[in-house]
Each structure stands twice: as C-alpha cells, then as structure tokens.
Symmetry: C2
Subunit: 350 residues, 2 copies
DNA sequence: TTGAAAGCGCTACCAA
DNA sequence: TTGGTAGCGCTTTCAA
C-alpha cells in the first residue's frame, strides 16, 4: 500500500513551503495567485486529500456533530419522524464536510452520559437538541459543557434560551384542527395527550384547550397518552368506558391516533361515524390505515436541514438567529366527518 | 476555560515519563504495577480524559464506523427495520469507545461517493454492508479501498466472499410459511416479490418457489413488488385482474404486504377469507393492521449487535468467522386462514 | 509573499 | 522497567 499523500508531498511537488501549501489550499489570503494555482495543480496531480485527523488535531475540531436519541430500542422503529429528520440533517452535513454521529440512550441518565462523553472525548463539535422536555436538564448540561447546540421547537416562552432554535409552529395547526372539527358540528372535542413533560406534548394540550375555549365550547375529556400506539389503544379503552363520550378526539400524534382508532373500531365504534379522530405529524402510516387519518403535517426533513445549517454556522462562529419555518398544516383525510348530533341537527333544522 | 488536561500533565503529576504514562494508561505491558497505579491515580485526580484526536492521529484510527443507507429520503421513514438495527449496533459500539457515523445516499453513485469519501478522509475504520445486491458493486469498491467491512446476509453461494458475514437464515422461514399455507389447504400460492437485484429479494422468491414445488404444487403467479407499501398496492390491483387468482400470497416483506392487503380489502376481497396474506420481517406495523399480519420475524437488533462486534474485532485485527444467528421464525397471526376451496373440500369430505 | 518552526495530544520505538 | 524522542498531518504564528 503506497504511503498516503500528505500536504508535505504537495508542497514539495509545487516547490513551495509547507505553510504556503496549507494557506493556498484553504483559500486563505497570503499567497500569490500564481502560487495558489501551482499548489492546487500539484494537489490534483498527486490526488491529495487532506487528512481529517491531522486537521482535526490541529484545528481543534472534530468536523462531526451528533444526534442523541432517547428511546426504548424498539421505539425508534415505530417513530418514522426520525428518518426524515436525519435525512434532512445529512443532506446539509455532507455538503460541508461534516459527519453525523448517531447515539442512542434509553434513560435520561444514559443520554446525559452520552453527551458528557461526546464532550470530554471531543468527539463532535455540536449537537442537536431534539424532543425537548419541560425544564430539560440537557440545556444546563450542554451549557456547562460549552457544547454548541441547536434546539428544535424549544418552548417559546423561555427567556434567554441559550441556543439557537429552529421552530415549526404547531399551535396554528391545532387551531385549524379544532376549527375543522367545530365546522363539522362537533361540540364535545376530547384530547388524547402526549406526555406532559415534553414541550410538544404540553404545547398541543394547551393549544387544544385554548382553541376549544375560543370556539365557545367546554373542553372535552383528556385521555392520557404517551405518543405510542399502545398508549392510543389504552386511551380508547378508557374513552369507551366514559359516560359522556366526545364525538371527536384530537390525538397528540399520529402513532397514538392510529392505535386509538384501531381499538375503537375493534370495539365497534365507528370512525368517523361515531367519533372523528385527528392525529399530528403527518407520517405515512396515516395513509395506510382506514379511514385514512386527518392530521397536521410537520416537515421533519426541512427542520433537519435548517437545524444542520444553523449548527454548522454556529460552530464556525457565526451569530445564528432563531429560524422559523412554514407552520405545520392541516391535512384533511377520512377520519373526520360531521358529528352524529350535528347530522340530526341538520335534519331537524331542515 | 482551563486548559485541557493532557497525558503530559498526568505524567508530570505521577512523576514518570510521558511514554510510561501512555503505556500504563493503555494497560500495555512494560511498566511496573506500582507505576501503573501511580499513573492511574494521577489521571483520576486530574480528571484526565484521553483526547480522541491525538490518539486518532497517532494510532491511525478514527474510532468510528459507518453505516451508509441507500434510500429515497422518505423511505427510511417507512422502513422500521433500521431503527432496531442501528440500536443493536450502537449498543455494542458505545461500550467499546467507537461511534457510529450515519450517512445517506439516494442513488448508487451517491453511495459509492460516500464510501470513497469515508475512506479518503479516513473518517471511519470500517463499515457495515447492508441490504446487499446481487453482484453488489460495493464489494469491489470496499475491497479496493481496503476498508474493513462486515456484511449482513450476504449470498451464501459466493465463494471467497471478502468480508465476514452475519447471517440470519430466512429460507427456513419461507419454507415454514409455505408449509403453513399448504396445511391450511392452499394449493395456489402466489408471491409478491421484492426487487430481484437485492439478495434478500431474490432469496425469498427462490425459496418460495422451491418450497411450493417441494409441496408438490405448481408455483402461483409472481407479482412484481419493490418492498414498498405502494408496490404492494399496485400488485394487489394486478392480482385482482388475474383470471386465476391465488388463494394465498407470500409477500417479500411486511410493508408491501400491508399495502397489498389494504388494496385487496378496499376492492372487497376478504383477507383472509378470500386470500391469505403473509409478510416477512416482523415489523410492528403488522400488528397495527387488521387482520394482523402473519409474518416471519427477523431480529434486526441482534443482527446489528453481532455485526458491530464482528466489525470492531476485525478492525482490531482479529480473525472474524462468519456468524449465524437463530433463524427467522414464522409468526402466525390473523391474515392467514383455511383456503376457500379447502373449506368446501372439508365440507364435501365430511 | 514566503518559509521555518512550534504546537495539537497521543503512540511507539529505541536506548539507557 | 523507564525515559527520551520521533513521528502522525495539519494549522498558525512569526521572521525573513
């Protein structure tokens, strides 16, 4: 195996000093155009590829960023959000010479340890802060570690949030959802919640309640969910036992909505005949089921791309403003229809 | 910010030479136990963490491995196999100080470029070779690049395959599937295929045909699929138009099976009443749909863990044998039932 | 504008 | 067993 071509070889070939070769190759000012051209030519002829390792040690950078996912091992499987998110990140990193390091942790302790290790070994130059929790301990941790980070959909209310944030508003979509249901004549609109320690779980609950109140209605029952299919199943069981059932339920995400619908149907409750169901996320699964799921379509790929751009800019010393992308939008499909009472009303009033 | 603690500090604190500190810390022979203990103590007191970068440059290793996924951006989303596979990989890497670099490419050219870049920049020490194709060009590429690799479910037939292979046999499961269908009285058993340029696509077709022949039956129609939900939908449309429909169809994977069932049901064909359907993979989605999908459950997490172990061993210079894990096993659920004719037969013969 | 040289933090070789 | 030292490949500072 031939020895690797180094910048020393390039400098020798071009007949210039090592330092000039470096300056020329990196497009830094300080060499004549003639020299620069000569060095570039030499590099090309030799097939020179800069060593990440040498550069990394010298420049004090890893040229890599990390995404730490906190999941039960099998949940990444059923959460299709990540694929598109990662793909968006990757599309940007690749073009800028950075790599994505993916790590997984089960518990919050695991995750904290992964961040600590990433930091102490200097494995990466920055991280994505995804699926934020209320008072997320990672924020203090990363601040302490002085680790550059970009947060996804952090709570809007926090003053002096220490990292740039990429946001896609979901509140307006929840309002659209509720309006859609109200327009269909629903008067008793429940919510299948996500875990309230998640920012997006809480945000959706709060937005739902507010939107229902804004419509002059009493908020329907809140069923506890956890963003999983199984959680949706249990919630349906719970709802069926309720004395005064809602005619429509807004579920905090698609996966739980699908479990919820599944169980309702298995129990003989018609969707949307008896109960309208709405999800959130816009995952493909929502089009596989019957009825197809009315939902609000987020843009994970776009979020990933913007977050990656922001993180690299931040690492490279730029001042990065918060980024707001096009809001989540309502996608009406077949799981929502006129409320049963409403049909009666229309008949009576006709 | 205090200067980082380096091995020089540790050596000074312990009152030994830099080289002895390195030797002691890495557990290499060549220092007395007393010295080793003193160095370790000094390292602890100082909170020393070895720099990956220094070590990386010096040792000529990246302490990272890569998984390059070839997908349309949105397909990773709906292919839940990867989550568990990655989780299995990660569980091993973390314990051995390696990181997983995840890259994505759309076309085969993209993917080849990613491998080349990983190699020329020495970003990683090895790669996983997943979703092998027939005469996969990556094999020659990685061989040329002298990149250590571990392949997943490579074709058994290849002599002198250049990399260690982690295998989970799927052929026996296909035989189980066909036997299961035959036992249910099916005599006309079709196949919804995967792309034939994939090793696992071809293997499942071949195994299906052989198993049907072994049962003394004529292989039913082969419907072209591509492992996607949409492919399953089209195949169902195609099958419905067929003059002589099969009473059972073995689909090359779960995702296409779900699309296939969906369309059949939308067209009024009962599953399993009119047609029994079987998938392959054992993804969670198969339990979300109705009827729940009979399938063969692979073990992506286990495969990932074994592949990671093998790859790290290989990188560290060990001779790594091929690994065979427990075969894929049939999981009977609700999408398979007695063949319609068979019911009649049983009535007549009663 | 160019070139020499000092690190970055570690491993590994070779004397002592 | 120990300690000095030469790299690994690059960036960057400082003279020339």
């Amino acid at each position: 195996m031939p020895r690797r071509v180094t910048i020393v070889d390039v400098a020798a070939r071009a007949g210039v000093a090592l330092s000039s070769a470096s300056t020329a190759l990196n497009g830094r000012p300080g060499v004549s155009e003639a020299t620069r051209a000569r060095v570039r030519a030499a590099a090309d002829e030799l097939g020179y590829v800069p060593s990440l390792r040498g550069r990394s040690l010298s420049a004090g950078r890893a040229y890599a960023v990390a995404l730490v996912v906190q999941r039960e091992s099998d949940v990444l499987e059923s959460d299709p959000f990540f694929g598109a998110f990662i793909s968006g990140i990757e599309s940007v990193l690749a073009g800028r010479g950075y790599a994505l390091v993916l790590q997984m942790g089960i518990t919050a302790r695991d995750v904290a340890r992964r961040y600590r290790d990433l930091s102490s070994y200097r494995r990466v130059d920055g991280v994505f802060l995804n699926e934020l929790q209320v008072d997320d301990p990672r924020i203090a941790l990363l601040t302490k570690l002085e680790m550059p980070a970009v947060a996804i959909n952090a709570d809007r209310g926090i003053e002096g949030f220490p990292f740039p944030v990429v946001r896609q508003d979901g509140v307006a979509a929840v309002q659209e959802i509720v309006r859609h249901l109200v327009d269909l004549g629903h008067r008793r609109i429940g919510h299948l919640s996500g875990p309230q320690h998640f920012v997006h779980g809480r945000e959706r609950l709060v937005a739902w309640r507010q939107a229902v109140l804004d419509a002059g209605l009493e908020p329907g029952p809140v069923l506890d969910g956890d963003f999983t299919y199984a959680g949706g199943v249990s919630a349906a069981r719970e709802m069926i036992a309720l004395p005064d059932r809602p005619t429509a339920v807004f579920c905090a995400n698609d996966l739980s909505a699908v479990g919820f619908m599944r169980r309702l149907q298995d129990e003989g409750v018609q969707v949307p005949g008896d109960v309208s169901v709405v999800g959130f996320d816009g995952i493909e699964l929502g089009t596989y089921v019957r009825p197809t799921l009315t939902t609000a379509a987020a843009s994970p790929r776009l979020i990933g791309a913007h977050a990656a751009t922001a993180l690299l800019d931040l690492i490279e010393g730029a001042v990065v403003p918060d980024i707001e992308i096009e809001p989540v939008r309502l996608v009406v499909r077949a799981s929502t229809a006129y409320a049963p009472q409403s049909r009666d009303l229309r008949h009576t009033s006709a």
